[in-house]
């Protein structure tokens, strides 16, 4: 199950096991709720539990990036496995998302 947590000025989004269109709108809605309410500058996506992601996940990341980038916010990805890294690379998103080991 996805989880949202605020640590300092970062929103930590723990993504579910499968990130697809079915789950995407819920994750977007919830993440935006936190982005509006709290004093959040950066967003961290945690892929620890994620075993599958398609272009819907790219949409989630791109959408959040657009919302925070104009205020100097950054997007990070942690616990990415090889497949997730591949998806981020193929989509060109590795240029705007910092992948942390």
């Amino acid at each position: 199950m996805e989880e949202f947590q605020i640590i300092d000025n970062c929103l930590m989004v723990k993504l579910p096991r499968e990130v697809d269109h079915h789950r995407a709108s819920y994750i977007c809605e919830q993440a935006d709720r936190y982005l509006l309410q709290e004093n959040v500058h950066h967003v961290i996506f945690d892929f620890e539990d994620t075993r599958f992601m398609d272009s819907s996940g790219i949409g989630i990341i791109m959408g959040r990036y657009k919302k925070i980038a104009c205020f100097g916010g950054k997007v990070y990805a942690i616990h990415t496995d090889r497949q997730i890294q591949r998806i981020l690379t193929v989509s060109g998103l590795h240029n705007i998302v910092k992948i942390l080991e």
Partner: protein, 183 residues
């Protein structure tokens, strides 16, 4: 493409040496709940060929993209209902429609066909451009076809406005070892 034809004619898998021309057809409702069902079913279908984890992930991603396109764009069931307290399948906002998924294994080559009877694509080459989307309000990436092209070996799209769309994809399995050694 001569090599591929030979494989099709023989229908013999080079890994297992077994003659195989399995087929699978699924017809399911165009609702977001079925996206994971479709890709898991295809994953099970190819498992006798012992695909690598990477091949399996590629196939699942491509199937997910094609099926999601049919649901969102073909039948315009825009929203995913994977939230807590899921929307029931018979919800009035969900438009009726069926997606047909056909898979065939000819030797080492997996053929996948995803068909819908939805609204069709007026300009296929534009739709296939990366980042192009007709529904920017959904915060989707416009990468669907780009992913299908990247993760499969061959992609063909046939569509008629008002009639529907067929996406055909092919992937040859068991090529990872020599791609790996090339790098």
């Amino acid at each position: 493409m001569v090599a591929e034809k030979e494989i099709n004619n023989e229908g013999v898998c080079s890994q297992t040496g077994v003659y195989m021309k399995n087929e699978m057809e699924l017809i399911f409702d165009a609702i977001s709940n079925n996206e994971s069902f479709a890709r898991v079913a295809v994953a099970a279908f190819v498992s006798p060929l012992n695909p690598t984890l990477e091949e399996m992930a590629d196939i699942k991603t491509a199937v997910s993209e094609a099926v999601t396109n049919s649901i969102i764009h073909g039948y315009e069931n825009l929203y995913g209902y994977g939230r807590r307290g899921e929307v029931p399948v018979a919800h009035p906002s969900i438009k009726p429609g069926k997606v047909r998924l056909h898979c065939m294994l000819g030797g080492d080559v997996l053929h996948i066909e995803v068909e819908d009877k939805g609204k069709g694509i007026p300009d296929i080459s534009q739709a296939m451009e990366p980042l192009f989307t007709t529904k920017p309000q959904l915060e989707r990436s416009g990468m669907g076809f780009a992913f299908m092209e990247a993760f499969m070996d061959d992609l063909e799209v046939e569509s008629e406005v008002g009639k529907g769309t067929i996406v055909r994809m092919k992937k040859k399995l068991g090529t990872d070892s020599w791609i790996g050694s090339e790098e």
